[in-house]
């Protein structure tokens, strides 16, 4: 198969980027899109040109490293698919394909198609955990969890942190990602003690990173390779409201007779 590729090239954040055009031929339909880029790169390297930088690692849809906007759609617009799971047989021979990086200000371009997603890690560091040290713990069966609840928590926890939700959201909001983590822990008994402080600090960090706000477009859910539902955004909103409206500002405060 042959393709015309339009690929975003940007040497570093300091340089302006542009779309560059490449022709590629003799691509097997069973080749993945990333393998096609590998092939393109090998051709470029053999010519002494710098290859197109793009991120990938596991190449089987679990690590969340790969991150391309293909023809305007994060991960290509196929259902529950990561970039590394896109195969060339899904295109037509002779197609023009536009390949761009995630575009969001909190995800600055590092080079070409590679962006810096450390903002996500900082959101996680702000509270995406249960504070426990390593050491003996109570037996898990002493805290039974309904299988459906564990399953729902897993539905949220299955987020691979790829950032497609941000890339796809017209507002570049990170709500789905943040909500997935908040809901995962918020649904489980282990996550209860820090439930309300967690949602506040994670949301605050999310905002500080400069992501947009949610207007419930639902694009994120559509692009999410793990099919994470925007119901978790609702859940996070609920927890956030509860945390800010109902939860006391200071627990140890005293009542004095007035």
């Amino acid at each position: 198969m042959r393709f015309t590729l339009h690929i975003w090239r940007q040497e570093s954040p300091a340089y302006e980027g542009r779309m560059a055009r490449y022709e590629i031929d003799k691509i097997d339909p069973g080749t993945s899109l990333l393998e096609m880029l590998d092939t393109l790169n090998e051709q470029l390297i053999a010519k002494g040109e710098e290859p197109v930088a793009f991120d990938s690692d596991c190449r089987e849809g679990v690590c969340g490293t790969c991150s391309l906007v293909i023809n305007g759609n994060a991960h290509g617009g196929f259902t529950e698919t990561t970039t590394c799971q896109v195969y060339m047989r899904q295109f037509k021979d002779g197609d023009e394909i536009y390949i761009e990086p995630w575009r969001a200000n909190p995800f600055p371009v590092v080079r070409d198609l590679v962006v810096d997603r450390t903002a996500f890690d900082r959101i996680m560091q702000a509270g995406g955990y249960v504070s426990v040290h390593s050491g003996p713990k109570p037996d898990p069966n002493s805290i039974p969890i309904e299988p459906d609840v564990a399953g729902e928590a897993l539905d949220a926890a299955t987020c691979i942190g790829c950032g497609a939700c941000v890339a796809a959201c017209p507002n570049a909001a990170a709500m789905l990602y943040t909500a997935a983590k908040v809901s995962h822990l918020g649904l489980l008994p282990q996550g209860q003690p820090e439930r309300y402080t967690r949602v506040r600090s994670m949301v605050e960090q999310m905002d500080n990173e400069g992501f947009g706000g949610c207007t419930n477009f639902g694009e994120c859910e559509e692009a999410c390779p793990k099919g994470i539902s925007i119901k978790f955004i609702g859940q996070m909103n609920r927890d956030y409201l509860r945390a800010t409206v109902c939860e006391p500002i200071e627990r140890s405060g005293k009542m004095e007779a007035q």
Partner: protein, 244 residues
């Protein structure tokens, strides 16, 4: 208290909740406003006045004699005004942030999952804001004249205004904008307030459609029927106009 408000309003979900709550208030208003407008169809009441004029008057005397004349009206106006302003101010804040978050658009062609309504929230909103200003100047203060105008003679004002195609058309547009705004807004607000759930989602969607259609049809009926002449000329019966 201020601390709590600040804590709440500091972050996007809190701001978004403000949009939703003010949205509910505005929605409540348009709903009752629509119901009020429909009184145009009720013809005359006993004392020979148009039902809608009577109703308009009733609004001003609501709460009397317990409360002073006009208090309820002015109170509601104040609440509405605040909600309106807060809705807009917060939306502006959020929109600015959203614009900043995505500096460069994509070159490639997207296949969006959004709908026309959700994409055009800002456009319909801005249009509505402009419309409301115009509308108040038109029907409430009578500053903008489209046909003759007389305080308190609501039916007559409506009749005269909507003989002209321009006014009817403008109101038609506004109604369409409101319908679209609510088509997304009413569904969206449940999500924003965390009241959504997959179990209820279909119902919420239907509710939003119902609300949007009801409001749109309810509103549009009045200018339309005046325009096509289904609603007749106002009677000469003088309404007793009180200071408002």
């Amino acid at each position: 208290m201020m601390q709590r408000v600040r804590r709440f309003y500091e972050n996007t979900p809190g701001q978004k909740a403000v949009v939703a709550v003010t949205g509910i208030i505005l929605f409540g208003f348009v709903l009752s406003h629509m119901a009020g407008n429909l009184k145009s169809f009720l013809g005359f009441e006993v004392d020979g006045r148009h039902a809608i004029d009577h109703y308009a008057e009733g609004l001003r005397t609501l709460g009397e004699p317990l409360l002073p004349h006009g208090l309820v009206l002015w109170g509601s106006r104040a609440v509405l005004f605040c909600a309106f302003v807060l809705h807009i101010v917060t939306v502006i804040r959020l929109t600015k942030r959203n614009r900043r978050a995505r500096a460069l658009p994509y070159v490639g062609q997207r296949e969006p999952a959004t709908n026309l309504a959700s994409r055009s929230m800002l456009a319909t909103g801005i249009f509505l804001a402009g419309f409301v200003v115009f509308h108040v100047l038109h029907f409430t203060t009578g500053t903008i004249r489209m046909g003759s105008f007389e305080h308190g003679k609501v039916y007559a004002n409506l009749y005269h205004s909507f003989q002209g195609g321009l006014a009817a058309f403008l109101y038609l547009l506004a109604t369409a904008a409101l319908g679209l705004h609510l088509f997304h807004g009413v569904w969206s607000l449940f999500q924003t307030l965390g009241l959504d759930h997959p179990d209820r989602n279909a119902t919420l969607r239907k509710f939003a459609i119902g609300a949007a259609v009801l409001i749109a049809v309810g509103f549009v009926a009045v200018p339309l029927l005046f325009f096509v002449g289904a609603l007749g000329e106002p009677t000469g019966a003088a309404a007793h106009v009180k200071d408002w």
